[in-house]
């Protein structure tokens, strides 16, 4: 069973120590912060944006926010990775929405975000072994979800769709979409908790 990945799931003393250095503006912590967060964050924003340059910009934007808003991170509530993921995802989703607004403003066809399949096979063998293990673990957990729940989580997380937009996209009532997100996330939480223990 894969080991917990670099204390990325639960907040721990290491996160608290790093946060303290961040909040103190200790620039010497940056290399470690980058090594720890950048690989996962970049892969995620790239998956969302599907554009190398925009993904680079989103990653830079995210790190700027992480650095400047370090005081808002509470190690008692989440791991550093969780906090950073939500920041980076937000930046990527904003770019998708701005891209769509720009396309409407110029009367160009609005670019639709691709629907990302969660079970896309890893194509690069150069990922660190730990990241690969984590990828397999999460993909396995998602594969155990019913299709409707997995689809709802995918559309929300990777495509930045609201539950209203998901409802319109898949033709399901809003209540159904909310229920799928709730049940899917509950199941994911339970599966991941079991795999760690």
């Amino acid at each position: 069973m894969p080991q917990a990945s670099a204390a990325q799931r639960q907040p721990d003393g290491h996160d608290a120590a790093m946060a303290a250095r961040l909040q103190a503006g200790d620039s010497a912590v940056f290399p470690e912060l980058y090594r720890r967060l950048a690989p996962g964050l970049f892969s995620m924003v790239y998956e969302i944006l599907r554009d190398q340059r925009e993904a680079e910009d989103a990653l830079q934007d995210a790190f700027l926010h992480i650095w400047k808003k370090a005081a808002t991170y509470d190690p008692a509530r989440s791991s550093l990775f969780t906090w950073a993921v939500m920041i980076a995802r937000h930046r990527a989703i904003d770019r998708i929405r701005a891209r769509q607004r720009y396309a409407r403003a110029t009367d160009a066809a609005a670019a639709e975000a691709e629907v990302i399949a969660p079970m896309a096979a890893a194509e690069r063998a150069d990922a660190a072994a730990e990241r690969q293990d984590e990828c397999i673990r999460i993909q396995s957990a998602l594969a155990q979800l019913p299709d409707g729940q997995r689809e709802a989580l995918d559309l929300a997380f990777f495509n930045g769709m609201t539950h209203h937009e998901i409802s319109a996209r898949i033709g399901a009532p809003l209540g159904t979409v909310k229920a799928r997100i709730r049940r899917g996330l509950l199941a994911l939480r339970e599966t991941l908790t079991k795999s760690v223990s």
């Binding site: 964050l41 925009e54 904003d94 929405r97 993909q139 998602l142 990777f158 229920a179």
Partner: protein
């Protein structure tokens, strides 16, 4: 005891799906309910794990140095503009766009008040960009662009190749909001000898929804209701 409704709210919050007002309301509940807060945090942690379910990508060469340099820069330069070229707008105007975005994002008069809001939803999601095209037969190359921030109720207009007009007239910007029977004035301006103008504007009335922008030619000082010919318009 957490009920199903709270579970649902927690799941939506964890996935950043709650609208800003509902998110604030839910976070107020979290502050008062440790059990709910712990549950919501676990849901968010589970959501964040989805970041791992992607094909690992190699980090771009030099990315670490680039980010380190950006962190070290003064705050005004720490805005990463969107990479969108506008081939039929002059380069100078496209560059001004980036400046306008920086200006709007660094509106220090309201920045402190918006810190919590910025953490919940990006400022960029409140911005609208409109391209204005010529309505003049004798100046087909006239063009304009507006960057509008609905949160700060302010914007930047830039025009180019617009014909000069007599001193007793002004160009006037209009903001079309369907809740008003008439467009809302965004102020008046003159162009330079080469037909260029740039104006920071605040509409005369609160704007909820921008359907379009228009520029008309009016008497000097502007008018309460558009009377003159439309020069540029767009949405």
């Amino acid at each position: 005891m957490i009920d199903e409704k709270q579970e649902e709210q927690a799941a939506l919050w964890a996935m950043d799906l709650l609208p800003p007002d509902e998110a604030r309301e839910f976070e107020a509940q979290l502050a008062a309910d440790p059990e709910l807060r712990a549950f919501a945090d676990e849901m968010r942690a589970a959501a964040a794990q989805m970041a791992h379910a992607v094909t690992p990508q190699p980090l771009p060469a030099g990315m670490e140095d680039r980010i380190r340099a950006a962190i070290a820069e003064p705050a005004a330069a720490n805005v990463v503009p969107f990479r969108r070229s506008v081939p039929w707008i002059p380069w100078a105007m496209a560059a001004s766009f980036a400046v306008a975005c920086v200006w709007l994002l660094q509106d220090r008069g309201s920045l402190q008040q918006r810190v919590v809001q910025l953490e919940r939803h990006s400022t960029l999601s409140e911005m609208k960009i409109a391209i204005l095209t010529s309505q003049l037969d004798n100046a087909p190359n006239a063009s304009g662009a507006v960057v509008w921030n609905s949160e700060t109720q302010s914007g930047v207009l830039e025009v180019s190749s617009v014909p000069g007009i007599p001193a007793e007239q002004d160009y006037q910007l209009w903001v079309v909001d369907p809740k008003y029977p008439q467009p809302v004035s965004g102020g008046v301006f003159h162009v330079t000898e080469d037909g260029h103008a740039r104006m920071v504007f605040r509409p005369e009335a609160p704007v909820s929804e921008v359907k379009a922008f228009a520029i008309s030619r009016e008497r000097a000082g502007g008018v309460p209701k558009a009377e003159g010919p439309i020069v540029l318009s767009g949405k």
